[in-house]
């Protein structure tokens, strides 16, 4: 396995993780309606990225599993959603949400850096397959990172200055 395939594999793992993490955050913060809906939409992008990485991976001798068959956060999530509704009346979940968004932001940023590495490799090796893949996917990863940062920016003043 060479450095390129290691990177493909790492990014594949990263997109799988981000899809699950977005859905888990959507579930946990049902009472934050915009976060719930947008996180669910953005999970779809990671799902697609994962599938495309698996497809492309074949050409590099990789057998990647693709997106998770059932990316939903599982049985515990139901309990978490109930808990979200129960604590939806308290201010502290605001801080929990900021921390969840921070984790999402770092995961998306990590994926973005890997896309950057692959894009650079594609340019250097004049590999049209790799370039097509990164051109299609990287912008959406950047949008995921931008979104998480935006929500953090907009919610922090209220969460951190309210008593």
């Amino acid at each position: 396995m060479n450095a390129l395939t290691v990177t493909l594999r790492t990014l594949h793992h990263g997109e799988r993780h981000l899809e699950k993490a977005l859905l888990a955050v959507a579930e946990r913060h049902r009472t934050e309606h915009e976060v719930h809906h947008v996180a669910t939409d953005l999970a779809g992008w990671s799902h697609e990225h994962c599938a495309r990485l698996a497809d492309t991976g074949h050409h590099y001798g990789l057998d990647l599993s693709g997106p998770p068959a059932d990316p939903s956060p599982g049985a515990l999530a139901g309990l978490r959603a109930k808990a979200a509704e129960a604590v939806g009346r308290r201010p502290e979940p605001g801080l929990a949400l900021l921390h969840d968004l921070l984790d999402l932001h770092l995961a998306a940023t990590r994926n973005s850096v890997h896309w950057e590495m692959l894009a650079q490799a594609g340019q250097a090796a004049r590999d049209p397959r790799l370039l097509a893949l990164t051109t299609a996917c990287h912008p959406r990863t950047l949008r995921q990172a931008r979104w998480t940062n935006t929500v953090i920016k907009q919610l922090s003043p209220q969460v951190l200055t309210s008593v």
Binding site: H33, E34, T40, L42, P91, P93, G94, R143, P157
Partner: protein, 800 residues
Amino acid sequence: MTTEADRIADPWGERTPYDRGTPWPARTDRHLAPGLTEADVERWVQTASVLHSNGDAMDIAVRHGRVVGVRGRAGDRVNRGRLGPKDLYGWQANNSPDRLTRPLVRRNGRLVPSDWDTAMDRIVSRTRHLLDERGPGSIGFYTSGQLFLEEYYTLAVLARAGIGTNHLDGNTRLCTSTAAEALKESFGCDGQPGSYEDIDHADALALFGHNMAETQTVLWARVLDRLAGGDPPALVCVDPRTTPVARRATVHLAPRPGTNVALMNALLHEIIRRGWTDPSYIDAHTVGYAELAARVERCTPRWASRICDVPAPGIERAAEILGTAERLTSTVLQGFYQSHQATAAAVQVNNLHLIRGMLGRPGRGLLQMNGQPSAENTRECGADGNLPGFRNWQNDEQVAQLAEVWNVTPDRIPHYAPPTHAMQMFRYAEQGTLRMLWISGTNPAVSLPELARIRSILGQERLFVVVQDLFETETAQLADVVLPAATWGEKTGTLTNADRTVHLSDKAVDPPGEARPDLDIFLDFAARMDFRDKDGGPLIGWHDPESAFAAWQRCSAGRPCDYTGLSYERLHGGTGIQWPCTAGAPDGTSRLYTDGFPFAHPDTCESYGKDLVTGAPDEPVEYRSLNPDGKAVVKAAEYLPPHEDVSPDFPLQLITGRTVHHFHTRTKTGRAPELNAAAPDVWAEMSGAEAAALGLHAGDLVEVGTRRGAVRARLRITPMRDGVVFVPFHYGYWDTPAGHRPAADGAGRAANEGTITDWDPVSKQPLFKTCAARVTPVEPGTGTERHRTAHTARTARSAR
């Protein structure tokens, strides 16, 4: 011609046909209290409508100190004398015996009559306490689309620079924020590009999700007069229901709710594929076209027909009309603004006009419509959306400019994030970080989605709720302090309609009892709070409507909504005037963007744009590199499936909307006898086929339920697409025994009991037209009920 016909039966009145390119003839509509003639009228006082966004100019008839009727102003550019049913009859609400005449305060759990000093003291002491203990973020203001410019501006100054809170929004969030956002995305700045006169010149009209016949009856009368005259325009209608507009359309497309972006992308695909674009306009005036062309390349009519459930040939035919018109005028309203991917869909209508070069010339008009009478003022004064004067919160120079106008330091004006939108304020209140909400002129306990949640938020002990209104609305019943407000005809101010026409509305009579103009209430609060500018002078130096207007003029100077050429004197007597109105354009400006897009420039723009999926704002540096010279931005969007789709348990789509007889939550129109009698109670509408499949008949009492709640209504069978149920949103509980909520047996009357808490991430406008529902029988209708459901003009075509 002066007419006083029964305008419940005929909302649009007699035809006055006219040919393309000729002026719209005048027709003066009038309605006086029974038994009175014009000879009995002591005074006529100039005003304009506050019951819809069209801005119809009229005079109020006064006799013995009371409003006794209205008459359209034939000389006004907007309506040429015509009035709709809501204006002809709605004024009677002013004289309603249940007007609030004294402040109310909550004592031992009950609202009891009080006096102004006690009520204002309570508000001021709570405000001071919260500022000391919790800071400005604990205080929010939720205002209206029905006050006057002078009132919004005063509220914006006192909230932003006085209190220092970022939490100020209007209920215009529910009706017009997508219009504003779509304009900002495409043109860098809010501001209606077109003019109503474009209807006189168009050879094709396209109404996207806009049931103009019911929401703006006078503008629809203008269209009907064009259709009856020489060289009539082709008419394209996009609406899931067979509205009066759809029945007159050359092509009617009835897409599945929530799929507007797919439909628009297919229309744009066809226009590009058939070569109907204007390449020289695109080159000279826009950026981003290549991305749009790539985005819609595969969005064929056949592709869209599967998503939207609209026949592909219909899409092709509509594209041909839109693509070959020489003078295309489009309007957009709630069918787009309150549906899934609201801003993305509305922006595609802008794109249609940009790639065809259909802007800035007679008949080449784009009208992103408003829902409420003074929604435009809420937007421009910064009581909704951005900072006053369409200023950009991300641009430090523009913030500094505003600080200079207010004589405060820039850090006094919160601009670390976009102003907080209404749904987020309610979320903060739910969480307990917002502890005081001052609601002026609106009724969220009926108009917001998922009402059980809204009632429980407003009913919290820890939230101090102030309501300023004419009546004891559902929301007022949940308040801690209720302030009685004067209304239209009882106070002076200006208001601006959907095509930027500014009208003066003069005081005709005194308000009842101790009711006071909203402006006076805000000024009183500011004085009691003793807000100061940076030199120790009063932050708010004005004292009446005209001095408030002058203050606003200074704030508007140099911005797109420039009012500096206007004055109360100029607005008296003649016609309303369209902003910008300046020394250089003293008669106002009929069309924006006749020569480029000056407010799309990175230095002057109101917004740098947002991600159409996530709503995340772009950064200044990105905008500058994308659009260094300030051109229009052609912004592509991908279709995404709706967030809540149908399921076996909830197999239908619920859409809510308006009826011609009522405005908002019926606080006024429900108190006008003719309007109330025409539509006294809530109903549900379905197609004949859908009802038959469920074994339902017209007149049956049904329950329209969603995952969140249910409403009980009599069923009407009307032509519309299958799979959809429509419920008007106007009805609440003030005229029921329970007062502000459903009766104990749980039968809701408000459509919003069941609507979803979801909003467009870009405009933050709640989505009232995309949620899953089921319809179940409660009890069969009787013969009379079956007859009753068919008694209005609009449902006279009922299947039974």
